[in-house]
Amino acid sequence: MGDENFDAIVIGAGPAGIACAYTLAKQGKTVLVIERGDSAGSKNVTGGRFYTYALEMVDRGLTAEAALERKVTHEQIMMLSGNRAISVDYYDPSFNRVGGTAQSFTILRAVFDPWFAGKAEEMGATVVCGIRVDDVIEKEGKIVGVIAGGDEMYANVVVAADGVNSFIAQKAGLIKDIESHAVAVGVKEIIELPAQTIEQRFNLKSEEGAARLILGCTEGIHGGGFLYTNKESISLGAVFMPEEVARHGRSLPEMFQEFKMHPAICPLLEGGKTVEYGGHLVAEEGYRGIPKKLYREGFLVCGEAAGFVVNLGYTIRGLDLAVLSGLAAAKAILEAASPAKVGPAYMQQLEAVKLLPIMRALDGFTDALDIPNLFGTYPKVAADLFQKLYAVDGSVPDHLRKQIWGVVKGNKLTLRQLFADGIRGMKAL
C-alpha cells in the first residue's frame, strides 16, 4: 500500500469516525482520519452524555481509560412555566454499581474526542486535524478517494462521519440539502463552577452527576432544554425548531438568555463563568430521518451524518449510536469479501450491533414529541395544577375534580383535545 492509498479514509474525528478508525486500525488496516477542526471535538456542540455500553462494544475496558466527567446518577426532568418550575429527580444507584462500569457519564467533547482520537492513533490510525475535505473522487461510479486541502487522497472505502448536514454524503449523492423540519437548531453554553459548588447545588456526591431535560423553556416552540453537570462546569443548552423560530420573531440568544435567567435555573449558574458558547444543528426525525441509502460502492455514511440520533424527551441518544455505527462500518469493511459487498454488509452490521433495531423501537417518540401543546400549554397546565394543590390561604378549596377542570378550561383546552393528544401519545409510544 503506497503513501496515498489507504484501506479507509474516515471523514470526521467524532465518536462515529473514531470508533470506525480504531476498530480498523486495531485489525491492521491503514486508516486516515481527516478532521476539519483544529482538534478532534472542536467543531461540535453536543450536550454531552455518553452511554458506556457502546465504548465497551468497541473494546472491553475502554471506558475505564476514557476522559469522562461525572457518572450520571440523577436523571431529571424539569418543566417550566412563567417563573414556576416542576422538577422530577430519579436517583438509581443500580445504574452505577460500585466496581462496575457506570451506565452513562457526562462528557466534554473537547476532552473526550481528543482522547478517543489518541486511542485510534495508538492503534495505528493517522488522524489529521485542521483540514477540510472538499469533495469525493469518483471513478466508474465508485467513490475512490477524497480531495482535501488541495490534495487528492485515495482509499478502498471512504467513510463519511462528518456530522449532521453531511456535505460529504451530499457530494456522494446519498442525501439532499437538509430540510428545516428535519433538524432543530441548538444553543449551548459551558459555564465553569467549582466542583463543590456543583455538588452542593445539585445534591451530588463527588463524581456523581445529573442529566436534566427541560420542557417549557422554548416559549411554546417545539424543542427543549438540557443541562449536564461536568466535573467543574455545567453544560446548558436549548434546541428549537428553526421554522417556528423564524415565525416567532425572537432571536435564539434572546430566548436562551431568558431561559438562563429563569428563577429556577439562574441560581444553579450563579457565579459561573461562560467558557464556551456555540450553536449547531441536530437531527430531529429519529428513525424516519435516516437517508434511504447509507452506502455506495466505496462509500459509507456513519453517525449523525446518517441521522443516527433519537430524542426521547426524557433523554437524547446520539453519541452511543454514533459509536455503534462506526463499529458497524468497520466490521463491514473487515468482513466483506469484495468492495461491492461492503455496503450491504454495513446494513447487516447496523442490525447486528442493534443500532437500527433500537432506532425502530424508539420511532414513536418522534410523533409523541410532535404534540404542539407539549412545549408550552402542558407545562403550564401542570404548573397550574401544582399551584392549586399547594396554595393554602385559609379559603375553602374547591373539589379536586373541579380544580382540575378549572385549570384545563383556564388554559383553553377542551376534553376532546386532551383526549386526542392522549391517544396520539399512547399510539406513538
Partner: protein
Amino acid sequence: MSKVIACYKWVADETDIKVNADSTLDISKAKGKISDYDRNAIEAAVQAAGALGGTAVALTFGTPKAKQSLKDALSRGPAEACYINAEEAARADGAVTAKALAAAVKKIENVSLVVCGEGASDTYARQTAPRIGAVLDWPVITSVSSVRFDGNALIAVRRLEDCMQTVKSELPAVIAVLPEMNSAPIPGLKAVLSAGKKPVTEFKAGDLGVDFAPKTTVSALKAYAMNRKSVIFSEGEIADKVKELTAALRKEGVL
C-alpha cells in the same frame, strides 16, 4: 548542501490561559502551539533554502512536551527537524536558549543561515536571534521584512521605526523575521502526512556541553490588570452630566 535553520518555540496557546483570582496564571489546561511568528520564520527558512539550493531544518529547544511540535513544524516544509529535549528549557532565559540553539547549529554543520521569529508569542523578548549571533559570532539582522540572496550574500530589508533599511551581509548569518515576511500557509494534507516520515534528530541536554543555569530567574508571573476608576455620572440633567464628565476628564489630564 547548505542548511537553513528555522528556530521555533513551542508555547502555551494564550487563548487557553486562565487568570486566577489572585492574578496568577493557570496554564495547566493550555494546549501547545508553535509560536505565531515562528511559523513565518519556518516558512522564510523553507523559501530561503529553496533560493540557496539547500535544505531547511526546523530546530527547537524545549521540555519533553515540545516533542509533539515536531510533526507540526515538519508539515510546514522543512526536510528534517532537530529537537533539544531538556527539562531545563522551562527555566531557560534568553542566554541559555541561545547557547542551546547555537550549540545545535554547530552540531548540524554546514549551516548558511539561521532564521528566528522576531519574538516569541509568549514573552516577545526578542533575545534569541541576537544572542545566537553573539554565541556563533555571526552577523545578525533583526526586524527583517523581506530578504533575497546574491551569491554568498544576503540582502535584507529591515522595518525600522520610521523607515526601511536595506542591509547586506555575508553568509552565514542570523536573521529575525517579522510576520510580514510571508503568509505562513496552513499545511496541506499530503504535507501533514509526509511530516511523520521526515527524520528527527534529538539532542539531550548533556549532548551539547552547554551550561543550562539561567542568569535571570522569574520571580513572579502575573496577569496585567487595568485598575479603572469606574466613576458613573448619573445625577441631574444630561447637560450637567456632560459638564461633570468633561471636568473629570480634564482633572485626569485626558482632555
